[in-house]
């Protein structure tokens, strides 16, 4: 089912949580709402679910206005960060809850409920836990049970609020791959909220980057990573080096070197370069930035070098392990830096 979000605004006192948000979500899509804490992503998700009411704007499910519908009538599955499982019920009863509370006319028979619950528990690969209580499960298991419970009511939309936020890194990685596979199987329109850019890029079909109640950019993971629409998106999606400079006839000077900024107007500018998009050399070329390696950190597969650049702060450079050992770089060496890809923003524009 498609979802249209039209001109949604929400304030909490003087704080603007959402400022005129417009967004179309296609049927069967897996969408990530990505942003730092306080950007309004959870509020937006709760408004879509009907757990929160917007001050202005409309939510349309499949073209039909659902703004005033109660959450219990919206047919949404909601998964909470802290699972919100019913502690006094077994796993089986938790999953069966949505079926048991239906009015008599539409309530499935006991055998039907049993079949359905076991089918869902098999889908989340936890059928063997049916008789346990939530307190006896691990975090990852609880979240999968919460997901099975949400799917039991056959929702038209699945909403997940930081679903992996309370889990440790390894379980989180496993679960997000599993969620992606699950989505490919059931093709339910799904929206999940996260502050982890890696998670958003890995799992989602499309990513919505939010900041201070605004949408900064909407696009596929490739689009938002490779062509960020704003400095915020650039910074939020991965590490970045900033050069404050002035563009003059297509070049921005940094110390004795300069960075190519073709097409940029002559004005003060901020230049963004990702650490892994910088080449190191011992030979001075015409434009390269001069620097001295002051620190080398080994982070598993990549090596991060901190280089003091003349006329600038320290710059981070990331090399693969092979490139690092080929170069044989040492602390204290003088090096020359050439950025391969840069993004130039002139603040006025």
């Amino acid at each position: 089912m498609s979802i249209d979000i039209r001109n949604i605004s929400k304030r909490f006192g003087n704080f603007v949580a959402l400022d005129n948000i417009n967004l179309d979500i296609a049927s069967g899509e897996l969408l990530a709402l990505l942003g730092p804490s306080g950007c309004g992503k959870t509020t937006l998700l709760r408004i879509i679910a009907g757990l929160e009411t917007a001050d202005a704007g409309q939510i349309l499910f499949h073209g039909e206005d659902t703004t005033d519908k109660h959450v219990s009538e919206r047919q949404v599955g909601f998964v909470f960060q802290h699972y919100a499982l019913f502690r006094h019920m077994t796993v089986f009863e938790n999953v069966a809850f949505g079926l048991r509370v239906r009015p008599k006319q539409t309530r499935p028979s006991e055998s039907e409920i049993k079949r359905k619950v076991h089918e869902l528990l098999e889908l989340v690969q936890l059928d063997w836990l049916a008789d346990r209580y939530p307190a006896q499960l691990s975090g990852g298991q609880r979240q999968r049970i919460a997901l099975a419970r949400a799917l039991a009511v056959e929702p038209k939309v699945l909403l997940l609020d930081e679903p992996f936020g309370a889990l440790d890194t390894k379980v989180r990685k496993e679960l997000r791959r599993w969620l992606r596979r699950l989505h490919d199987e059931v093709h339910l329109t799904s929206i999940f909220v996260t502050h982890d850019q890696e998670e958003a890029l890995e799992v989602a079909d499309r990513v919505v980057v939010l900041n201070k109640g605004h949408i900064e950019q909407v696009g596929t993971p490739e689009q938002v990573y490779d062509t960020p629409a704003s400095p915020f998106v650039y910074q939020f999606l991965g590490d970045v080096n900033l050069f404050h400079s002035r563009v003059h006839q297509g070049w921005a000077e940094v110390g004795k070197g300069r960075i190519a900024a073709p097409g940029a107007p002559d004005a003060p500018a901020i230049i963004y370069v990702r650490p892994h998009e910088i080449d190191l050399s011992r030979v001075a070329s015409g434009d390269a930035l001069h620097g001295e390696i002051n620190h080398i950190r080994i982070l598993g597969a990549t090596i991060r070098l901190e280089v003091d650049v003349e006329g600038h702060d320290a710059v981070e450079v990331e090399l693969s392990r092979e490139r690092y050992s080929e170069g044989g770089w040492q602390v204290g060496e003088t090096v020359f830096l050439t950025p391969r890809t840069v993004q130039v923003y002139t603040p006025q524009a």
């Binding site: 109660h70 019913f86 809850f97 239906r102 919460a146």
Partner: protein, 287 residues
Amino acid sequence: MAFKQASVLPGFNLSFGYTIFWLSLIVILPLTALVVKTTGLDWAHFWSTVSDPRVVATYKVTFGASLLAAVINLFTGLLVAWVLVRYPFPGKRLIDALVDLPFALPTAVAGIALATLYAPNGWIGQWFAAGTPLGNLFGPEGLPLAFQPIGIVIALTFVTLPFVVRTVQPVLADIEQELEEAASSLGATRWQIFRLVILPTLWPALLTGFSLAFARAIGEYGSVIFIAGNMPFKSEITPLMIISKLEQYDYLGATAIAVVMLVVSFALLLAINGLQWWSARRLGRRN
């Protein structure tokens, strides 16, 4: 399981010893003295004292009225706690403080005040007196409130009001909003959420409040005697029996009745505790 387990918390021996010493001094010693004193009575006398029809009638009144008062407080206490936790309103702190007043008030004062209010010519009692529209609903004699068993229930309800409120309040405040939101998103109605999600979580606290109120009501004396009317076989409570035996210097008879109360109360509290343990276990606090 070993009696003493290795622990990072020091001082088990000292604190456990102190606890046992204190409980012995404050609780077990007087109660043991009571039982020992009773042994001065031979079995036939003991039995004839505690099974005297007039005394047996007081057991029924005491335990019946206490049970009724505790049940009433189970519902009204939950309601008061619910309102205090869930809704913001002006004067909330004042009402919150008011709940504890029955604890602070000398019970005799409460008894006299209640007797005055509920007497046939009192502020509330007059509306239920014979010949009044409300009273006629209950028959030609109206509904006498004071100086009747019903008066005992009123007094006990008043005195034990804080227990359920104060035990349920913190638990209710701790229930995560997310649980209700989850239930709601699964299609549950308000009533279903209350019955299936909130009430099971509150059960242990409700039971605790109930048993405290019940226990307190069984031993209550001061507020009851003023409003009960103290008619033999009808509105006499067991503590009154004990006092009247004492006034006749029948110390052994008084302790005999006291021992019966002690045993019955202990058995009832133990049963409620068992129920509580069982329901807490079902809440997933076991392992």
